[in-house]
Symmetry: D2
Subunit: 193 residues, 4 copies
Amino acid sequence: MSKLYFRFGAMNCGKTTALLQVAHNYEEKGMKVIIIKPSIDKKGGKKIVSRLGIERSVDILIGPKEKLTSKIDFNNLSCILVDEVQFMSKSQIKELWIISKLKDIPVICYGLKTNFKGKLFEGTKALMEVADELEELITICKCGKRAKFNARLVDGKYVKDGEEVIIDGMSANQIYEPLCGKCYIEKVLKIKY
Amino acid sequence: MSKLYFRFGAMNCGKTTALLQVAHNYEEKGMKVIIIKPSIDKKGGKKIVSRLGIERSVDILIGPKEKLTSKIDFNNLSCILVDEVQFMSKSQIKELWIISKLKDIPVICYGLKTNFKGKLFEGTKALMEVADELEELITICKCGKRAKFNARLVDGKYVKDGEEVIIDGMSANQIYEPLCGKCYIEKVLKIKY
Amino acid sequence: MSKLYFRFGAMNCGKTTALLQVAHNYEEKGMKVIIIKPSIDKKGGKKIVSRLGIERSVDILIGPKEKLTSKIDFNNLSCILVDEVQFMSKSQIKELWIISKLKDIPVICYGLKTNFKGKLFEGTKALMEVADELEELITICKCGKRAKFNARLVDGKYVKDGEEVIIDGMSANQIYEPLCGKCYIEKVLKIKY
Amino acid sequence: MSKLYFRFGAMNCGKTTALLQVAHNYEEKGMKVIIIKPSIDKKGGKKIVSRLGIERSVDILIGPKEKLTSKIDFNNLSCILVDEVQFMSKSQIKELWIISKLKDIPVICYGLKTNFKGKLFEGTKALMEVADELEELITICKCGKRAKFNARLVDGKYVKDGEEVIIDGMSANQIYEPLCGKCYIEKVLKIKY
């Protein structure tokens, strides 16, 4: 029985690099993988691009209402890789889970755990319910601790409210900042004891 | 900066035994711990009881609308332990998180990940958002694989619908069954490929 | 393909409690487990006893030169549990590994990682080479951090030299103390920067 | 207190890519890291090169008898990264451990767990004794399972004996193959039940 993996982390932690490495590991052995990305993520278009400078085209760009099973060619497929999984719908996550169990194909999903308000994305919540393995990828808060949260900055100031998704490949790095729990509480939520 | 831990697992995986062991480890060194349980969990009353036969009284039985900070004596406190954390409210989880960061006291929570419908509990969802460590405790499906889901049986038949919580110390073991993903899909959701 | 698990931790972290919980989880489902202990561990004789007060008889007490395969009845066996695995020989660990892979039976081993000098035990070294999963059980240093090392005290003083094994059920708690890395460096190795 | 991490995996699992990602994560925030490699590893010379095509120069190429503390500039240092850590000496690992605890600088080591005979390297054994976190990076056996072992092939045949180290950048991929436990037992050790 294959597993459904969720590898999550704050922005800029290296999720796409990790995904591309796994694809490489399979393909080096002549095994077939498929890379899927939700079309709602406009960044990079039909490509996924790692901040280390590696890029690669996506095999399936999936719309929010589309069914995965009708798009995936399961023939000789060794692994399904999903980038930006937080943007998948609840029913797409359910499909991925059932594929891992009934088709016996490992599914490895990369994505954010929480939005800038600290809340689970729809896709993430669904994954938390069914994933076999929850694995955290680590990045660094500016205080040196592990960053777990994604703060949004507007005009240089941390904000707590706004739309969940502003995806803009060019400015993404400038307006989001990974923070540890303590910094998020103090700087964004402004809670003191 | 202390951590907020979420140690989850299916029913009957040994969460309470694990909690009691941690309490013992601290107290053996003369360190003070507090054990908290939501009052909504009627099982055992003011006690927590492990299926291995160990039991212990709870320090704080917390109501769904109560604030934790007003009930906890932080003086010389080394660790906060929470049992049945899935029944905590969203705002109680937020309190636990802030305590771990601003009071610098480790908080270790034990609870279920999902209800019998396979959905996150309110407390669990909130914990998934803020916990520093997500650690799974393992139990066994009757097929021999790792159990991740809690199926509910009524009159010996798996059910998909009903109230989220039926807590009744005496019959709990009889009506819930831990299942692996594949068995849950096949026996409860009755999905085939 | 079943896994070989190594669950290690410092003294008094709750290894035996965890083992007894796993045995209970299997047996509650009518599945058969076997508990093995090296005979070199005199503590408790043919019993294993948890510090929480739970005890149970061992199924196989294995001598340092004995072969495991000749002693284990594999018929209908669902899981092999090993306590005090650090005292197993290199070749016994190899047997356990091969059993997990070729008989397809999960083997879960509990034991210490290092002796009081901070060195791997023979059985531990062999397990580190072949185990599929390395999982740490946690206990607390008196400074409040995670304890990883086992310091030996003789007449109340930390010692760096001596025989690897002094096992004596009655005094074990008095003469060993779990310490975190920093305390071990400062108090036992007496290194300063 | 900072941690000493050991992130290990079979050959070609992506260790160098992962190291380069961490370096990038720190430097993107203006934090200083140092990358160390044992000089015994001739592959790439003063560079480390990931199989995904990313490369970078090493800061310190350390000889087997050299002391690390005399070579590292600790001024404003946020993280120490070590590649091919299995080739470090026992005393260099001890230095790294003490640095993490007494200088309070995180040290993240990447390397192989075992040689082609399935035995721990000297540096790996020492790390297993003192590392705070043991984290496995995963690659794939040709059977589709997780690869844990490094088999050596000479003229296309698996071998069990020979020198521990043959490092030759050009042919390394051709002569080593990552295998899962079962394939290693059956194909290299040729053990049957």
